[in-house]
Subunit: 341 residues, 4 copies
């Protein structure tokens, strides 16, 4: 009954079991353990390429630490105004980069457009000492608006970025939701499309607290360990981060979880679509829906015990589904909305 | 058989059970959950005072975030040369404080002496614009040398610190080991002795990854939440940090674990004391022993499968015991040493 | 013949004389000299209030250091997209504030509108840990577009800022040009209108390299000296900064210089107004004009030896007049434009 | 009569004349002027090598900006405990490097010894993620103790530094005083001895406010312009910094000035040597003397109108001579001391 966020959920049972299983005997700390090694191989298999990976515990840490090695302190990071790094991390990127600037590139439905990116970069003043220097493009997949960049869109943005000597970072806090939505390979959505570094999310999709930073461009990863340690993000008992991620990737759990979350959102969207007093504002492509409800409907839903965030003190509601959202809760939600509309 | 560190251990069974138990239903994120509330009350009970507490996942995070609200960027943090914040955090305090300076105050057996502190502070140049400004005293309890500050020592250092308008921070990564060694109350070892902020450690003593920053001086805590978030250290599924700490404090698990670890170290010390070719270098007061072994003994121990860190490419060995160190391993260790000596 | 910027000019003769005169005997360093004391009194007289002032050498230093004491590292500074602090300081505010975020508030002709400011602040998320926290409003007077905020506009913006607990900073790199344009008192344009801290510019209006940060809200100034020193901006031979500023303020030199610069711009504007192939884009209110020239006119002006910056590889030209712009150069400029139009 | 510091002096007449002379017509800003170009050539001539140079206004700026491109934020800068960067810059290096750590290497008379440097570096933990990473050796020539590194000492330290992959920075706030003391070439004391980057001082030896950062290792200079701008240290009217430095180097003014200052110190040392109640504490090798005076002598000197800094509330006095110290003042000083001893 809680549609506030995918972070209100607990831990997927397979992952909790893996934590229990990992708790056998001693293991050398800081990643010098067999689970972390296994995880590294797992990621390489899944992405079909050599890569360097670093488990961390939060999405903000993954993003900010990734950016810390991609931009100098006098650099510019280009992102969408709604990007998590811009809105929801209380300045973590600025802290970890030593004060780099996030430069905003707008676009509909949470997505940067190639036209806007080109325009911003062409007037960025690369090489001119008065201006922060173009360094990174950061895109979010799935976006904060619950939408998905198509492969051609990622490729187009990466191409522009490379032309202007930018690195490309992808914030994949909801990477799995995007992947199953597109139905493509992890490789296609990342390094084959020009992504250098990925913040690979798991927490929102069933982990307890586990993400990973993946460097497809491995030379960029050299100084990352020092930034991670310096940020207080190197876990001594690392095996318990790695155990979560191994279990997450095992037997396609991550894809299964994401598919379920997306299906629940799709069903919610279908059920609410066209109801009087209900307006779906953005395409439903992953596991989020943004809806405007008439006051009566809103009240009915809250009275029925449903929880969700309401933005701007208005009727704008965000509904987020998750790996363990009950189909019966979704059906009940729709039923209440219909009754009140 | 692994005496490398208390961070090679797994998770205490009671804490693992608590994690499993916490995984029921949805919970609001970022600490707005019942377990986190319960933890706050628990800490207040145990320390016998009002306090504000913030769970985090690593000791470096606890220390660096605590310091981030105690010193301005142009401030000085006084600590022992061997302090974890000085040696083992790759500059985390400098990052989180915006570049404050750690000023080293020496002393035997890992402990700052009142004389040395006074001397350093009197020539610190408080108020003079050319110099970094005295801001914080940070002491480590138990110390990195495995020794313990007596209550009078903490009180004396705090008094000097207060006289010079410093805040007092305690790095308590091994807080429980120190507490049971002194046999005093948590209050006596902290706020009653002048400590303003405590990094309360649990990871080394049986948690998976959980520490807490405790503000006895509550007004200092106001901006902490922003620093924690900005550092990427605010966990969305906070209940799983809090669950660890609640279980850690429940039924005196933390004290029981620490007592066991200390006893194992004491027994090791007793067993090795006076053996030819064995030199115990520092007082054994908590769960660490620093020993010089003759080469033959060192080799015998390694051949028998014991693991430990050897410093300086020499015979200096650090042995760390933990909540789950087997008495039989300790006895075997002693036996091998005796046989080789 | 050089209209590129008011920083291509040399030093006003009165100021150069003052430097020569200041070079007598020894003087205690770092501001402990009689000229710096005299300057402080001078500023208090001119602004008709108690204030604390700090000479520095560059406008970027003045702005960034002012901001360093007005916002925490997790704070937000609201400014116009064209603000010097946002565009032309290569991230100096981010460096000196420890990574605060500049949040952009748009408006026509280089000016933030009260409506836009209100809207941005109302969705800023004050008190919410995920978001950077509203801290400062920074306005530029005269603006980067060569326009002037009217007193009522400053008052209105300050009022909104105060309502949201923001401090108000004014970037007055061209303060004198704005002041003579409005014809009001320095007090009216600053502290009486709600400004807490002013970056008072002199370099562009005849000094060699001298600005001052003025705190009307004196309690905010307490930690400034440490930030200035730490930034490498505390001059040992401070008397030579102060000498420039004393001479600048003496006998209304600053107002005389600014009046001349503004008159030259006004004359340029009048002379170009309405010519075919000439389009004046923004109101001419201080000492800058933004003009679009037809290619033939542009070429004629350049052939005649006039220098100016052309933006965007197009025909958009910025003309800046200064304290020593020759009326004959202005007339010649107009003449060449007329001949080519 | 003022022996407090070489920064209590005014400006050498040749340099003041050069400032007046530079004030002709317009000049493009930010270093795009003929004087700055001339200065670059001048430095290359004098140092006999290709180099990249950047004028700045203060010594702290020169040092901190130099370090900003020599170390990552997780780096260690090795310096003497008495180094200006450690003691007298209020944390400027920490600010500009993003929080690098100054690691102290002791030695007699203000000089790092090769033995101590080797020892510190061998236990520095290069490559180990828990520790800050060795990055820079910074030596001060002349030292803060008024002593001079011999060429072989610089070479030996540089060799150790290079062996450990450190860059070598020289703080040359009193570079000229050291140079004339050694009687060697600028090349011999810098790049030929392994120095990569030099903070070249002029302010203490007759300039108004002018220093330069010289990169002998030119590839290190690439990002320096952005750091300088971002630090608020890029002067718009750069020609007035360059004019000072050109005049300083012209006709060996810098060497002449330094020779005079050193001679005055030597004479003071000779005159005071052996007097009862006078103890000269450190070798007098440049333009500073550290003396302990008996109370009666101290009082006599102060009564006679001499000014100097007294350290530690004791009788420890620092006397600094300068380019314009009057020989008659020196003789009078000696006379008063003799009379009171």
């Amino acid at each position: 009954m809680n549609f506030c966020s995918d972070n209100v959920t607990g831990v997927a049972p397979e992952i909790m079991q893996a934590l229990v299983a990992a708790n056998q005997g001693a293991a050398m700390p800081y990643g010098d353990d067999t689970l972390t090694q296994a995880l590294s191989h797992k990621f390489q298999d899944i992405f079909g390429t050599n890569l360097t990976m670093f488990p961390v515990a939060t999405g903000s840490a993954a993003n900010a630490l990734a950016l810390s090695v991609l931009t100098p302190s006098y650099g510019a990071v280009y992102c969408h105004p709604s990007a998590h790094i811009n809105v929801d991390e209380c300045g973590a990127p600025e802290l970890f980069t030593g004060g780099a600037k996030l430069v905003l590139v707008p676009g509909e439905e949470g997505k940067i457009t190639p036209e806007n990116l080109t325009q911003v970069l062409e007037s960025a003043g690369a090489g001119v000492v008065h201006h922060v220097q173009p360094a990174v493009l950061s895109i979010t997949q799935a976006t904060e608006a619950g939408t998905i960049y198509q492969l051609e869109e990622i490729q187009a943005l990466s191409k522009i970025a490379k032309t202007h000597n930018l690195y490309v970072h992808m914030d994949g806090a909801r990477f799995a939701n995007a992947l199953v939505s597109l139905g493509c390979s992890p490789a296609a959505m990342t390094w084959q499309a020009g992504v250098d570094v990925l913040s690979f999310g798991a927490t929102k999709n069933g982990a307890m607290a586990a993400e990973a930073v993946l460097f497809f461009n491995q030379k960029l990863s050299k100084t990352f360990p020092f930034h991670r340690k310096r940020g207080g993000h190197l876990f001594s008992k690392m095996r318990f981060l790695s155990a979560q991620l191994v279990a997450y990737l095992e037997d396609d759990l991550w894809l299964k979880n994401a598919r379920h979350a997306n299906q629940m959102a799709t069903r919610l969207g279908q059920g609410l679509q066209g109801l009087p007093g209900v307006k779906i504002l953005l395409s439903v492509e992953a596991n989020e829906i943004f809806v405007e409800f008439a006051p009566a409907i809103l009240q009915a839903l809250q009275s029925a015990g449903f929880k969700f965030y309401i933005f701007d003190g208005k009727q704008l509601v965000r509904l987020v589904t998750a790996f363990n959202t009950l189909p019966s809760d979704v059906e009940k939600f729709i039923k209440v909305a219909i009754a009140a509309s």
